[in-house]
């Protein structure tokens, strides 16, 4: 079932890319709406900075539009966007030289956590839990949180991440495993073994 829905998503992406190549701005908007959340998660986890994540998202979509004619319709759109987002987030992080800080994920201004007002209390506690999780992810070494977010939000395989990071498959798997272990440990009371 999961594979089937993934195939549907890929088919939909190909149709959108075809339309984008023709200059269809509705297609651009649909691609944005479809992928922005996962890309923002990647940006915020990798760059550990909300403003940077938002700026990276901006740059990725401007670049996608500017290069629309060169994007292969039979390619993997999400993979393209994820790779572009990862590269930009990594550049931002390096530029800031703040690989272990999370400075404004909690105090986000123009971006905000979703707070479904139908159940205000649930929203508050969910948002608080997400804040803790963001902080825990941000406290991981950059290479571990990169693997985790590319795997879980980018839906890349370990092999694809290994290629992207230019390290071995086993190294990527280890980083992923160690990263999750650290997260479980640092979330403390919120995580029961």
């Amino acid at each position: 079932m999961a594979n089937s829905s993934r195939m549907d998503a890929v088919g939909e992406d190909r149709e959108l890319v075809e339309r984008l190549r023709q200059g269809d701005r509705d297609a651009l908007r649909l691609i944005y709406e479809k992928h922005k959340h996962d890309l923002l998660r990647i940006g915020s986890c990798m760059a550990a900075n909300w403003t940077d994540a938002e700026d990276c998202l901006h740059d990725v979509f401007v670049s996608l539009a500017a290069n629309s004619a060169r994007i292969r319709p039979d390619g993997n759109l999400k993979g393209y966007l994820v790779t572009a987002m990862a590269n930009r987030s990594r550049d931002r992080l390096r530029a800031r030289k703040r690989s272990h800080q999370i400075d404004d994920v909690a105090g986000r201004t123009d971006c905000e956590l979703v707070a479904p007002a139908i159940d205000p209390a649930a929203a508050v506690f969910a948002a608080e839990a997400d804040d803790r999780l963001y902080r825990a992810i941000a406290s991981l070494p950059a290479e571990q949180r990169t693997v985790i977010t590319l795997r879980l939000h980018g839906e890349l395989t370990f092999e694809e991440i290994a290629q992207l990071e230019n390290v071995s498959n086993n190294t990527i798997r280890s980083r992923y495993r160690y990263g999750l272990d650290k997260l479980r440990s640092s979330l403390g009371a919120g995580v029961e073994r």
């Binding site: 922005k36 923002l40 998202l57 290069n67 007002a117 159940d119 649930a122």
Partner: protein, 397 residues
């Protein structure tokens, strides 16, 4: 959480979203880049792309604008020679309609629809607006007289308000899309020499009349009107802005169904039974402001809200929280034991000034699932719609 799978699932679903302002900025810049890429392609492959553009009559007009922007206004003048049509004909035609359906598509912000009925004197009688994207999420609203009902579909509640000023505000909101107002303003601006209107009138051949409007005080703006050659009513309006030498579409407005009877059901919201109803016409909401400053009343509202929760007084807490019914408050907050207010911080204005919110950071000790902890809250507080002397929490919780 007891497994790696659950942790992975939580990470996958980390909650995040963007505001409309962020979405608009990104989509506007990306659209401009797309347009630029397409125009570059136009230069590389003129014939095929040109044929694609010319297939659509509105794209044809946009293409004309692009050319005009590069070769100057002389070409613009030659493209549109003024002939028989005059704006006064549309002013006259507008006197006759009593109802309309308007479809507005701001770039990248979904399709907003409005149905409006007017009286013999031309005053607005009743209105429905469906808005897929607003700062409050998706909402539908109906208005008649001094009463308005707003269904906040994303937030899941229905708000009923009654206010003497509502009619004036609704009329003002409609003005940007009311063809009567738009054409009157255009005519006035033309008579004062503030706009230049170039007219293309192929109505003898059955085609629509087109007005291309440029503004002396906003040279980067263009509006293109399409007028029905028989009725002389405005059918469509497109608003453009010049970005990096190209005209970017800001908004597309379609004026549909002039004088078509609007079914009465259109002006009734079809709200599901389980939507929380908040009626501000039958209850006082929030706390009286009295002589307090905005910051002082915001702090007072925040403090008394949490005191009510600590006392398990859900009726009072709900009254302070937008008038949410006590039963709903108990359903939501009853599972949490609020113990004490740890701190109430300094109020600050919400970053989005349009919301008029004052934010008050609070820390409250509470017990949930057998665990005691201190939670941070930042209630958004503002004056109550229709009860301007009272302030209540209206978000952030």
């Amino acid at each position: 959480m007891n497994s790696a799978d659950e942790l992975e699932d939580r990470i996958r679903h980390l909650r995040v979203t963007t505001t409309d302002a962020v979405d608009q900025r990104i989509l506007a810049d990306a659209s401009a880049a797309l347009l630029k890429a397409q125009s570059t392609m136009l230069g590389a492959q003129p014939s095929s792309v040109w044929r694609t553009i010319m297939r659509n009559k509105w794209a044809r007009l946009a293409a004309v604008l692009l050319i005009a922007a590069t070769v100057g206004t002389v070409t613009f003048h030659r493209q549109f020679a003024t002939v028989a049509y005059a704006l006064e004909q549309t002013l006259e035609a507008n006197l006759g309609f009593r109802s309309i359906h308007i479809r507005v598509e701001p770039a990248g912000r979904g399709v907003h629809e409005t149905w409006a009925e007017f009286g013999e004197d031309g005053k607005l009688l009743r209105l429905r607006m469906n808005s897929p994207k607003t700062e409050d999420g998706e909402k539908e609203a109906v208005w008649q007289g001094d009463k308005a009902e707003v269904w906040f579909k994303t937030k899941g509640h229905l708000l009923v308000i009654r206010d003497k000023t509502t009619a004036e505000r609704v009329t003002k909101e409609l003005a940007s899309f009311d063809p009567k107002v738009i054409v009157e303003q255009l005519h006035e601006a033309q008579s004062k020499g503030k706009v230049k209107i170039e007219t293309q009138d192929p109505s003898a051949k059955g085609g629509p009349i087109t007005l291309v409007v440029s503004f002396s005080d906003s040279p980067d703006q263009r509006e293109i009107y399409q007028i029905d050659p028989q009725s002389k009513l405005v059918e469509q309006l497109k608003r453009y802005r010049l970005v990096n030498g190209k005209y970017e579409l800001l908004e597309h407005v379609e004026f549909l169904e002039y004088n078509q009877a609007i079914p009465p059901a259109t002006f009734v919201l079809n709200v599901p039974a389980d939507v929380t109803r908040i009626d501000w016409t039958t209850q006082e909401v929030g706390l009286p402001k009295g002589d307090l400053t905005d910051d002082q009343i915001a702090v007072k509202v925040a403090r008394e809200f949490f005191e009510a929760l600590i006392a398990k007084d859900y009726r009072r807490a709900g009254s302070i929280f937008s008038g949410i019914p006590a039963s709903k408050m108990e359903e939501v907050f009853g599972k949490v034991e609020f113990l004490r207010i740890v701190s109430v911080g300094n109020p600050t204005p919400h970053p989005d000034a349009r919301t008029r919110f004052v934010q008050v950071p609070c820390e409250v000790e509470l017990r949930m699932d057998g665990k005691t902890r201190v939670e941070k809250f930042t209630p958004y507080i503002r004056a109550v719609e229709g009860q301007p002397d009272r302030w209540s929490i209206d978000g952030g919780i």
